[in-house]
Amino acid sequence: MKMELIQPFINAADAVLSQGLQGTTQVSNLTMEEDAYRRKGVAGMVALSGDIEGRIILDLEPQTAVRVASHYAGAELPESDALVKETIFELANQVVGNAVSALNDQGFHFRVHPPLLLTAEEGDKTSEDVEALMICFETAMGEIFMNVALRHNKKRMSDHAVMGA
């Protein structure tokens, strides 16, 4: 997976999280994921289709998710509150939306699908053409994990090439 595709997601997550959590964020770990995705806690997934296809997962351990959601809500929320999941969904949506906006300005065209709750403990294994990168952001509220799995839509890209020729 090319770094030029990943960097907008890292930049967007950094911007969204540092603005929302009113503190600095730091990328503490960045690893390629070759095995099936294992959910850590409250996880929201946003799918993309278009020139680049794939999905982005924002995943927080339950206590971190509660702290983050409570910060946004301005009040202590219980772990069972639906607003905890909603907060993670919306954060995932904002990160993807901002990243896609930057990539679109570079000529990639996407459709962003509404966020979904990831309920399975384990996701699909990544394949040769869908590599996944796990990025861990250190924040004042705890670690926030972002898993990015993207691939070029070869048909769409070749269509563009033909049209551009």
């Binding site: 969204v16 809500a73 939306g97 509404p114």
Partner: protein, 146 residues
């Protein structure tokens, strides 16, 4: 959250009434809290474009804050349908997907402005004043933050 000088309706001095349209409860709550700091009032909320149309017909808000990516009917189509029926409608698109094509499509189909998420209250406040134009007035309140 920072407090702003209240924006009122010029015609009667009443709070500006808003329709908030977003499939995310979190986003709706967040916007509602901002509106409160602007001295506004939430007339209604909707979680999709179809409901937005019916809530607009029911409540006739002064301003609609409309997300783009939503189930059933997306925000740009809902904005277009509302403006077709109510050309005076003031719709501000509020979306995390802020690339040029999206913004242009929304404006061409009747939206008055575009604000990218995550929303900064001071940005939304200025956009609302701009979109209201002479139909809005900023109340002079001592101690207000903006």
């Amino acid at each position: 959250m920072e407090q702003f000088a209240p924006v009122k309706r010029s015609k009667d001095g009443q709070p500006v009434r808003y329709l908030i349209v977003d499939d995310s409860v979190f986003a709706r709550k967040n916007l509602a809290r901002m509106i409160e700091t602007f001295g506004g009032q939430v007339a209604a909320e909707a979680g999709d474009g179809l409901t937005a149309i019916s809530e607009f017909d029911r409540t006739h808000p002064d301003i609609v804050l409309m997300d783009i990516t939503m189930p059933q009917m997306e925000g740009i189509e809902a904005a277009e349908r509302i403006v077709q029926q109510h050309p005076e409608a003031r719709i501000v698109m509020v979306s995390s997907v802020g690339y040029q094509e999206n913004i242009v499509a929304a404006l061409q189909r009747g939206a008055r402005h575009f604000v990218q998420k995550p929303v900064k209250p001071e940005v939304l406040y200025e956009v609302i004043k701009y979109v209201l134009g002479e139909d809005g007035t900023v109340a002079n309140v001592a101690g207000a933050g903006a």
